[in-house]
């Protein structure tokens, strides 16, 4: 049986004017690392707040560890851990005081579940007498994760844990998640960073309150509808402007030092030659495998049409 089951969940704000979550359904299996991938305003936080019983849905149903999010809200709270996107611990309590506070309100002790947080807590333990408000961003994040874990939740909800975090610290955070998954905890994590999608077992790509696609990252990539090519030349800005005017180019987006394009007739050689004739130098192109970001863009375009 799935640990999280969501059926046609709807949430609106401002008397129905703002549709934050628009009839979303998905299921997360026990022990799975599941990612909600999408930009700000996609509805990720609303979904997490409903599943952690902090917000009531307008309609639809959801269960967490088999318990109903509306009727069994009190019981759910002892089974889930929630790390909000915004740092929400007590700034004027110390590291250790925060942790023991959260342990106490869940009727447990730091010692009882220490094995769950040990690898993470050990990194902030030297600062255990420092007030949480005086910690660096990375340390706050580690403390918040410890506090979300101290009552040994079955399901862990992490709302944008890596937003605004640099690439090195992001990598470290994902290593911690892998270790937690190995302990059997079901993890739902949201992120606006498309490159983190491949670190999840399954992902839901989400935009404007609706799910664009749910599958393993590998399968989502396989479902990309066209052949994708990367091209470059010595002047990338002129190149993208020219590509946008060429009728055989059906889509073009910058991806760092290359542009990714799809072609109406998949005639790459013809295109490269045409570019050279237009005066581009060092023109180079090759077929490539799409990234999750390519897929997201393609699905967004479909959804808008």
């Amino acid at each position: 049986m799935s640990d999280v089951h969501v059926e046609n969940l709807v949430k609106t704000y401002d008397g129905g004017q703002v549709k934050a979550v628009n009839g979303i359904s998905f299921a997360v299996e026990k022990g799975e690392l599941f990612g909600l991938i999408g930009p700000d305003g996609a509805g990720k936080t609303s979904i997490f707040r409903m599943l952690t019983t902090l917000l009531l849905p307008d309609s639809g149903k959801a269960t967490v560890t088999g318990l109903d999010i509306v009727h069994d809200y009190k019981e759910i709270r002892s089974h889930v851990g929630y790390m909000p996107g915004k740092f929400s611990l007590y700034q004027d309590l110390t590291v250790e005081e925060n942790l023991s506070f959260f342990a106490t309100i869940f009727n447990t002790t730091i010692e009882e579940n220490y094995h769950l947080i040990k690898d993470i807590y050990i990194q902030i333990k030297p600062f255990k007498n420092r007030r949480a408000g005086k910690l660096s961003g990375g340390m706050k994040q580690k403390l918040a994760l410890c506090c979300a874990l101290i009552h040994k939740p079955s399901v862990l909800f992490l709302d944008e844990p890596t937003t605004g975090v640099d690439a090195v610290s992001r990598k470290e955070f994902w290593e911690m998640l892998k270790a937690l998954k190995a302990q059997g905890i079901t993890i739902l994590v949201s992120t606006p960073y498309m490159d983190e999608a491949t670190l999840c077992e399954r992902i839901a790509l989400i935009q404007s309150g609706s799910i664009l696609s749910i599958d393993t990252p590998q399968n989502i990539i396989k479902q990309f509808p066209d052949k994708l090519y990367s091209v470059r030349s010595d002047n990338m800005i002129r190149l993208i402007n020219d590509l946008r005017t060429m009728p055989e180019v059906t889509s073009v987006y910058s991806f760092g030092d290359h542009h990714h394009i799809t072609l109406r007739d998949n005639n790459l050689d013809g295109l490269l030659q045409e570019l050279t004739e237009k005066g581009h130098a060092a023109v180079d192109g090759k077929p490539i495998e799409p990234t999750v970001e390519d897929c997201f863009i393609a699905l967004m375009k479909n959804a808008n049409n």
């Binding site: 999408g38 930009p39 700000d40 305003g41 996609a42 660096s136 961003g137 990375g138 340390m139 706050k140 937003t163 605004g164 975090v165 640099d166 690439a167 090195v168 610290s169 990598k171 606006p192 498309m194 935009q207 800005i237 987006y253 910058s254 991806f255 760092g256 030092d257 970001e293 997201f296 863009i297 967004m300 375009k301």
Partner: protein, 248 residues
Amino acid sequence: MTREIVIKTEHLTKRFGDFIATNAISFEVYAGEIFGFLGANGAGKTTAMKMLCGLLTPSSGSASIAGFDIYKQSEKIKKSIGYMSQKFSLYEDLTTLENISFFGGIYGLSDAQIKSKSEKLIGQLGLQNEMKKLVGELPLGWKQKLAFSVAVLHDPKIVFLDEPTGGVDPVTRRQFWDLIYDAAARGITVFVTTHYMDEAEYCDRISMMVDGVMKELDTPQNLKSKYNTTSMDDVFFELARGAKRKAD
């Protein structure tokens, strides 16, 4: 060819007690350049940027921004720059048009200038139907594009962008960079921070801050060659991994 220099710092330093947030950084930025300012959290980027915007007095060293001295002419600096961050964008309870006139007024534009600039900007962004809507009702992507356009409304010499595309969808993120290219083509210098390494590739030059020091400053191409890799990700990892400081 001598290029006009719009930012020049020499040994620019900021101490907070015995902590050296920004440690003697020296660099130059040219007019019309897209200059990427990268580094791990806690590397000293925000402190450096605040000094360059005239919001924080340095402890030592010197800098001139748009030709003005960072110690003596900070008010003139503020008039010559635009600034946009991910967090503060615009007044949510003012309409699109009201935000444009408000910021236009603050930057000292005349009513006639504000009127013509507003019309042009609304047209460029395709916001005709949203002119009279409260900014709070616009999707994030549009807000960020509008915030950028407002930050360059007064044709500043330099625009400072602090993680302008954080959390923005992948299509809007790219449209945002089109706006950056347009501004640079009009001669506006763009000074930008980002956590997206693909965006580092769009910069003419990139600097890398590590523990308060500017460790590298070069074109993306040269940095990749130097670190013998094909991706900026690797360059970033190589540099940031050695960092001792970790903060926000």
